[in-house]
Each structure stands twice: as structure tokens, then as C-alpha cells.
Symmetry: D2
Subunit: 361 residues, 4 copies
């Protein structure tokens, strides 16, 4: 019986691990404990902890740690508060392996709490490239992790080089599983789209450009004026509150709390996605939804043919959005398997319950 | 005027940065703030903060964070406590650059507190290889840092690869300065040895082998029985208290509080060094002092000709110690420049006060 | 030169200490350091730190500590985070005395950080009675404090008894200074009202009734429907976000960011105050503004003739509000000196800079 | 089924609650969870957590929080670290009541973590008087607690006055149960003494006299030179390490780890107790062991006839110790019931499982 502890720190992390959780729960040789922490227990960010329970999982512990202050130092402080809590929680749970997901600042707290106690650590979605502090966080977690479940061939190579396996495209402990978010997208495709033909907007603050956060949001709002839009709340990082204020002042009522499965179905029904979310690079490549990717946040990420890049420029955003909406009328773009084929969750569950861990423990 | 903040978390960190601090203090274009934290403010570990003041530096802030418990979870908890404090302290000091040293677990707190606030981070002594959690910590700090002052050619290559500059022996932001600990050794050599002809013992717990810590210390004590020895206290990591107890029960009174400059002079006077400290690999290679390196803690570190490796085996330790003590009677081994030539501090100060930072800020 | 450190944790705390700060700043024998912490550095609560600076004070340190989660455990966690920060900050500032204000949960962090380091502690506004956890907090701070600047005769008696000076109406260290918030009210009266004749609403969550917070706000909103109202945001305690949501759904746009001096001038221009703020009991008694005090939050507080108590009942709130608005047309109620005469700030500054502290240091 | 959570922060706290724990465990209507924290999980202080398990109890959680630094600020910081941990642990355990014991600085963390979450809090041993920061801590906990199980009539009166029940010798929620430490003493008396006729020494640092800690210990060591002594380690408060060093330098090997039951049996066998532990005031009054109480630490505590008070003066300590040792040859002093009759544990268990809690919940 292997005890797998998964730390979920935010809504997107849950989407990116959910099918692995379902596969782990189904295994008789695994005991699964989910720890919900950071923005996953905050009402303002949709309390993913409740969503996890609604999906039939137990939540072993809820851990508050988001220190409120719309500034850069709060990310560091929140990570410290989370680390002080998780070190005790992991000591109590005594996991055989801890799983951490992607690249938000809090994931480093999970990674330290596990690795400093000699608990094997599995990192989901290492080796990717984006345009901000997330890169540093993701690569630091890669260095602390023992098992790496990555999405793309380039990610596998990057992780292997960074871990010192020079010239080895797939070093020990590195597995190309694909990204579990594509599993949900695959299931959503089986169930079908929610057709609405609106322009969906997911734009987040860029941690190295917090002073421009409000201006960036204003450009998007201005560009899409007059179009039928569906906005989502910006994330909690520094700059997020300034962006939310721009939306409020513009009279826009953003959406929250779409379930992880309904989210890709809603994506499929959109005429276009605008913003800087990795969803555009990732899920939309599989679903064939066109994306106007704004600014530098996804810089360096591998792209399929569905993505067009534009700067934070009102005209450029408006023009490309209009053009892609027209193209979408002929149906979605071809599906790409760059980020996964829909079976990542099963592969990850097999790795976490198999001998891979014995090799690193 | 550039504001350089250096976080000193332990006695060996201070030794490894001292000549750079002296060079920084001498520059009119630099404001230097030293933050003493973790074991640097704990009496049981010799309160390096006081030593720093005795050397004529001001200490801008003392930060307590060592949570006492002889277990693995305390490293993670202590790092969390330090991170919660440093995030506020750096926000208050508003540095142009933060400097963190080597690979102790707390250095990751310094690295996160700086990098999450977009403060450029300089890491001293990245790219090396040792045999425990230190590797993970050091490599994670490398990922968070912007400027890397490394000691050896292999270290420069390792950092460059890990940062994604494939096939580049010296990526952007990577500088081969040598290790400042060799600067002190060079000065010590100018001043001359403290001759004592005893066997010096520096043996620390290995964080992945905490259960064996007491046995490992017992083997060394047994092997050196009857020789004229000079023991130092084991470090504060998990397992350290168990080792200290072995020493107490054996009636051994370890030494503490030798100043960073007197330490290499004492080394020069020894007939041999036994244990697993990096001092054996590093300072002793320059000084030509023979070293019986015990166990896996220095595994993977580049070595000069002065080092002999043995397992935690009573006979092997005794035999090699005896042999090297005999050789030492003919005088020290030849000096190696593998870890530095004695000018690292000046080079680091030049980098921290120069344009290198503008490139990353 | 006496070093006085004042910890301001929230907007109302600042109002209640401002005239003392002005008087302290004017003294040549005092060095004043203001530490802004908790909600005083959070944008969502109006960042009082900025207001303090706008009033010409320096802020010696900003300390983030509000952990976001709309639940009861976040008060305890936030207090813990603040305590970990303040212990180091006070150690660095080396104050001769620390001042803490009133009864919000974070004040206990200030009190512990000072008293555990043997730094004399002055508590402003002890000995009062209200209807929630605030009572416990206030009384616990009284036990940790050495000097007590209280408002009313009953408060002086309460503090003296609680400190063990049985039958002594004014024990050692207890001073009846009046409340500094009345000083501002006195100055506001000199400057004159901002006439607007609206019903002002200040209703906060009650920490022991968080589940009813939304219902309580709904009753008030319903009762005042059709009247000309001026709502303020509810406080950050557990339940506050639920109350804010009620206001948003009702299309009410609450006010924030009225300066401490303009606030009583605005009060003077109101036709009535509705809610459960201590402002109604305190400032309004001096200003003669009629108050409909709703629910139990001010239970046990001494009242002047301007206050009418009602339950969270739509009809009762509406009826009494209407009645008092009519009475107000004939001019304000008579001014009461129960909570102060307008000279509290000067008295407090004299105590903090005088010999009182030598007696307790 | 009532869920009672008891936070044990130190060895003496465990002794003072043990018989209540036994009585609670025996009740079918109670679920008992013990949380071991602060020095109770530190090896240097004897890891009471292990002792608790050896007594057949489960430990629901271990919580590290002792930040190492031999200074005053570490008490505040440690309390903050404990508070950040306990707030989450109590939120997870969902107790019907939390129990905190006596007056060590960490007890305030327990009290805040419970009371800020509206969890009823029971305080054991409120209302007593001693000579240091402990008084402030104890009285602050009294203000946060809902149920008070006190030892002496004076303590009951003190708690009642401090809680505002003027002239009431036993206010609501106040119960005179006696002190559970006397229960153990009573059981020890049934089992009989361990005769050894040595002078036992229990001397702790006084938090308001940390600079004198070493001198105070030196006076005692000097006074007892030549006598047959049995020393115990000083506590972990600021000053404790300095005292330990005095003992080490004097070649004294203090004892640790006597079980809570064997401890009073050892006391009974002593010819005299010297120091400033409350054990002298409390257990020894029941057992009739003579006590030389040194310095101010027990100032204000009610005493039976077995106690003689002396200053930190070599001659005074030596003279009184010699005198009492002679008197003890005629047998123990008469037993006093001032601090309890041996049935406190049962009474406390009855209160915690009974209707008392419904009244305050």
C-alpha cells in the first residue's frame, strides 16, 4: 500500500491533476491523501477544496497561507507560511511520495517540505518554458524532485539537461506522460461543446510586470469593446487586484467556478480565446480552439498552429480576435497531441504506484 | 550607489564570503548590509553574528529561525520560519542585489525571499556536487539566481547546462571567480601555520543517513583512539545531536569558535584532516594538507591529490590516517588552484558593483 | 530620548491614536516609530499606512500578516504570522515602550511580542466592554500591559480589578486619559460639519455570530430601503466578505477612505448613524449624533443619551431610524464627556515620555 | 461524544494534567486527542511526547515550534510559530473543547488558537501568583478561557475578580478542583518513596532576570558544594542555556527523564529540595518535603509550612539547606491540602465531559 499525498494549491493545478487523482483513487494498492492549500481554500479564488469534495474526493487537510497584500513580498511571505504548515502536515501524514503540480510560487513550499524530509517528490509539468518568475519556480522544483512527469519532448529534454544528464533526452526519473489537463479536454470532446460563440478572456498578471498589470487589462478590455465576451477573474498574484479593479470599473462581471470538466466544454463553444493563460497553449491546441495570446506570459512555450501572438496593443488584439472568430466559423482547428493524448492521468497513477518510487526512495 | 545585501546563515558561509565582504566594504560605490540568520545567531553554533561584528562589520539585522527538534521536519520548518522573516526584511532593505552562499537548507529561504520580489540574486558556489540533500538545495538556488560566482571549471559548466545554455561552458550570468574560502587560505599561508601536529576531525551528519549518524561518528572515534586529536562540533542538521552525544559519551571535548582566519592556519599545522567536511576538498587542496575523507558526503566533488576516500570503517580510517600522517612529516602536498587562486573576493566584489547586475535587474 | 513604538493594525486604531501621535511627534524628548501592520497595509482595507504617511509621519516598517480565508481560523493564523514578524522587528527597534490600541485580534500579537521581550507595553482603551471575542482580546492585552490609558471611569475600575488591585478605582499604571478618538471629534467640531443629512451605516460582522453575518446585513439593508443612505465597508473579520456580498448584490456602493478628521465631520452632518460600530457609542456621544445601535456588538459598553438599541429586526431598525432622523431636525443631542474631553492625545504623550515608564521598566 | 483536545507543551505541564488524562481516557463519552508541542517534542528537553506514548496514550499530532536562540525574542517568535501551526491543527481536529495548562509562554498560543476560533477553552491552574512574565501569561490565558480549573481558594477568587465577577469568590466557569500534580503525589505516597537522602536541585531561569541567570546558578552550585546532590536541567526559557553551561563547567551531570510518577517518589526520598521550581510549593507541600526556595520566581504563591525562602546568596542557601536536612531526619513535614487532595484529575474529567461546556459553547 503506497501512500500518495497530492498538494493542490490552486484551481488550475486541480484541473491539471484531476484525471491522475481519479486513476489513483481507483487503485487498490494506493492510499490517496489530498492536501488543499493556498488559494485552493480561499473564497475569493473559488475554494477549489469544495470542488474537490464535490468530485467525491476526501480532503485530508486544508491549509491557509495566502497573506493578503497586493505586492511582491506577499508571494514570498505566503510561501513561507505555507512551508511552516506543510512541514508538520507531511511529518504527520508520512507519505511514500508527495506530488506537486506546475509552477505557481507556492509549489516550492510543497517541494521543500517534502524533499527536506527525504520524502520522494513527484513534479507534474516540469521542463516547460514561460515568461516570468514561474520559470524559476518550476526549474527549482525540478531540482528538488525525484520523479518528473512531463508533457512534451522538449520538456523531457530540458528536465534531463537541468538534472545533469547531459545529452540524454530522457534521464532517470523523467517520464513523458503528457499533461493531465489534456485528459479532461479529451473527455470534454467526447461529451461535446457548450456552444455560445463568445470571446473568452483569461488574462493574468505577469509577476515581472506588476506595475503594468492594470494597463494590460485595460488594453484588452478596450480591444474587445462591442464584442460578445466572457471574462474570467485574473489570478491572485501581485497585480491581480489592480486588474480586477479595471474589470469592475468597466462594469464587467467576470465568471468564476466553472467545473474542470465544464471548462474545456465551454472553451470548445467559444469563437476564440483571448489572454495569456496557458490554457490557450495547452488545452486549446488539443481542442482546436483559436487563441489570441497577448503579451509575454507564455513566451518560450511550445505552440501548435492554433495560437497567434500579439503585444498588449488595442488594435492588434482587436484585429486578430476578429480574424480568428471568422476562421472559427468554418469549424475548429486540427487537434494537436503536442501536450498529450488524453491518457496522462493513467500513466501518472501507474508511475506513482509502481517501482519508479522504489528507485528514488 | 549599489545596495548589496548578504545573508549569512552559518559559520562556514561566513568563511566562504568574508574576503568578498572586505572587498565590498572598501568600495565607495557599494552600500553593504549583512543579515545574520539561522545558526549564525545561535549560541550553540558559535553565534557568527558576533564574529562578524568583531571583524568590524555592522550587522543590519539578526533573524532567528532555527526550530529545535532533532528531526528532518525541522529543516523544512526552520526554512519556512526564515522565509517569513526575510521576505519582510528584504522588502524593508530594498536591496539592488541579494547574495546567498553555498548549499545549506536555509539558503533556499534567502533565494525565495529575493527572487519572488524580483530582487536580483547572486549565488556563491553553485554547480558543485556533494552527496546529499545539499545537491538539491544548491541546484534549486541556481535556478532562482541571476548571477553565479562559481569555483571550478566543472561547476561553471554544470550551472550553464542546468540553466539551459546547452553546450555553453560559461552561460550568461555565470562567472568563474574561484571560491573565497581559498582567499582566506591564501592569507593564512602568508601568515604561517599554527603547528600542532594533531589529527583534526570535522565530521558532520549526512542528511540522507540520519539514522546512521551516531554509528558513523562512533567509527571515527574508535578509529582515532590513541591518536592526538582535535575534534570540532558536528553541524546542526538532523543527526547532529546524536553525533554530539557520541562525542560527549566518549569524553571528547570538541572545539568551537576558531576565527575564519585562524582556522586555515590551524589546518596547516595539522598532521592530517579526518571527516567529511568540504574543507578537506577545498581549503586543504590549496594548503596541501592530507585528508582522509570518510563516507559519501563529498561524493562527486572534484578533488586534488591531497584526498583519500574511505568508507565508515574503523580499520580503513585508522590505516589511512596513519599513512597520511607519516607522509605529512616530509612536508605538505603541492598546492592546487582547482578551487581558487586567492583572489575570489575581489572578483566577486567587482561583479556585484559592476554592470553585471544591470543586465539581470 | 525615549523611543516609543506604536503598532497600528487597522484604520480605526489609527483614528484612536492619531492625536497622541501628533503630540508625541512634537516632543523633543521622544523618538517615535510607527509600525503599520495587519489590515493597515492591505489595499482592500484602505492601506492606512499610506494615510499615516500623508499625515506627515514616517512609517518605520510595514508588516504583512492578513492570511486570506473567510473563516475563523484565519484570525488565529494571521495573529501568529504577525507575531513571528513583530518579535524580530521589536528586537531590532529596541523600543523603550510599545503602544498597542484597543481590541482587534492582532493587538495580542503586538502585546506578546513586546511583553515577552520585557519591553514595557502601553495599552490604549482597555477596560471597556463589548459583545464578542474583542472582550477576551482586550482583557488579555490588559494582563500583558504595564501602562493603561483608559477612557471612562468604569474602564479604569475594570482594569484595576482585573490586574488584582481589588477595591482600587485606579490601580498603579492605570490612567484615565479619555479616548483620543474624541480629540479628533473635538477638532472636527471646531472645523464644522459636512452637512449631508443622510443616514450613515457602519455595520460589522460579530465574530461569535459569523453564520448570521449576511442575514444581519440584509436586515439593515431592507430596513433602510428608500432612505438616503451612506454605507461603509464592513470590517475584515470572519463574516465580513459575506456582508460585503450582500451590499454588492443590493447594488450598494460603500464608501472607504474618508480621512480620520473628515470622518467625524461627516458624522456631524448625518441625520442618524445606524449599525454596530463603536463610533456610535463613542464619537457620536461627544458630537451629539443620534445612533440606532443594532444587535449585540456594543453590548455592555457605557452609553450616553444619544444611543437607542434595537435587535437585527427590519421593523425596529426602520422605526427607530425614522424617529431619530426627525429628532435630529431640531439639532444635535447634548455633548457628553463620558469617553473624553478632547485632550486625550496630549495626556497620553505626557505619560509615554514621562516617569511612568521608569516605574514599570 | 465530546472531543477534548489537550495541548501539552512541556514536561511539567504533562505532570500537571496526567491524572485528568487518565480519567478522560476512561470515559466512554469522551474522545481524547493529545497534541504534543513546543519543548514536549524536543530531545534536549526529554521529549515528553515519547513519555506520553509510553503511558499508553496516543499523540494526535506533534508540533515543533521552539526557535533556538538564547534570548528573549525567541519566546515571542516560538509562540508565533506555534500559533501558526495550532490554528490549522485545531481547525482540523474540530474539538468541543481545548485544554491548556498553567503559564508557560507557549500556552498563550494554545489559548489564542482555540478562542479565536470560538472553541471553548479550559485553563488548568489559573489564578496563581508567581514572580515573572509567567504571571502575565497566566492571567492573559485566564481572560481567553471559558472554564477555569483552579487549585486554591485564593486562585479561585483571583480568577473571579479578573473576569469581572467582583466580590464573587467563585464566578461562573470557575471550579476549584485542586491541582492534578497533587494526584500524582498522592499516588506516589501510596507507592512509597525512593529513598536516597540527597539534596535535589531544580532551578530555572527567571525571565525578567535573564542576565543574572548564570550568577544565580553559580550561587546554588557554590552553596551546595560538598553535599550529596541530584541536579535537574534548567528549563528552556531565555537564560537556560547559560545556566546549563554553569552546570557543565562545574562538572555536574544533571538528570532528565524521570517519569511523572517516579518524580514525586524521588522527591519523597530527598532530604531537601533546593531551587525555584513550583514543585517545592506544590507537590512538596502535600508530600511534606522541606524546600529551600531561592529567589523571586515563586514570589506571591501561597505556601504551606514546608517552604523557607532565601535570596540568591551562597551562605543563606547553604545554611537553610543544612538546617532542613537535619529536620528531615525526624521524618517529613505534615501534609497540606492547600493545592489539592489527590482527586483533581477526576473532577476535571467530569467537568470537561459534563454540562459545564454547554454553558460556554
Amino acid at each position: 500500500m503506497r501512500h500518495v499525498v497530492v498538494a493542490v494549491t490552486a484551481r488550475p493545478s486541480y484541473s491539471r491533476i484531476k484525471t491522475a487523482l481519479v486513476a489513483l483513487r481507483a487503485r487498490p494498492d494506493v492510499r490517496l491523501s489530498i492536501v488543499a492549500c493556498a488559494s485552493a481554500v480561499v473564497t475569493r479564488f473559488g475554494r477549489v477544496a469544495d470542488l474537490i469534495r464535490a468530485d467525491g474526493f476526501e480532503v485530508a487537510a486544508e491549509v491557509s497561507s495566502v497573506v493578503e497584500e497586493d505586492s511582491l513580498s506577499s508571494s514570498a511571505l505566503s510561501t513561507g507560511v505555507l512551508l511552516t504548515q506543510l512541514s508538520g502536515i507531511f511529518a504527520g501524514l508520512k507519505p511514500d511520495i508527495v506530488v506537486t503540480i506546475a509552477d505557481r510560487h507556492e509549489t516550492l513550499a510543497t517541494a521543500i517540505a517534502a524533499s527536506y524530509q527525504n520524502i520522494p517528490l513527484c513534479h507534474i509539468q516540469g521542463g516547460e518554458v514561460s515568461g516570468s518568475i514561474d520559470d524559476k519556480v518550476r526549474n527549482a522544483v525540478t531540482q528538488l524532485a525525484d520523479i518528473h512527469c512531463v508533457a512534451t519532448p522538449q520538456a523531457a529534454w530540458n528536465v534531463s539537461q537541468a538534472r545533469g544528464y547531459y545529452e540524454n533526452p530522457l534521464g532517470p526519473g523523467v517520464y513523458r506522460t503528457g499533461c493531465p489537463s489534456i485528459d479532461l479536454a479529451a473527455e470534454a470532446r467526447r461529451l461535446g461543446a457548450f456552444p455560445h460563440s463568445r470571446v473568452m478572456v483569461l488574462q493574468h498578471p505577469v509577476t515581472t510586470q506588476t506595475a503594468q498589470a492594470a494597463d494590460q487589462m485595460r488594453a484588452t478590455v478596450e480591444a474587445l469593446k462591442g464584442m460578445d465576451t466572457l471574462y474570467f477573474w485574473p489570478g491572485e498574484d501581485a497585480g491581480g487586484q489592480a486588474m480586477s479593479k479595471v474589470l469592475r470599473l468597466a462594469g464587467i462581471k467576470p465568471v468564476r467556478n466553472i467545473s474542470p470538466l465544464n471548462f474545456p466544454r465551454t472553451l470548445m463553444g467559444a469563437s476564440c480565446l483571448v489572454g495569456n493563460s496557458s490554457v490557450g497553449i495547452r488545452e486549446c491546441s488539443f481542442l482546436g480552439v483559436p487563441v489570441v495570446n497577448v503579451g509575454t506570459r507564455q513566451e518560450g512555450r511550445e505552440r501548435a498552429a492554433n495560437v497567434v501572438d500579439v503585444p498588449h496593443d488595442v488594435d492588434a488584439i482587436r484585429q486578430e480576435t476578429t480574424r480568428l472568430c471568422v476562421m472559427m466559423k468554418d469549424g475548429p482547428f486540427p487537434s494537436s497531441h503536442l501536450y498529450g493524448d488524453g491518457h496522462a492521468g493513467e500513466r501518472i497513477a501507474a508511475i506513482l504506484s509502481g517501482r519508479a518510487i522504489e528507485a528514488v526512495a
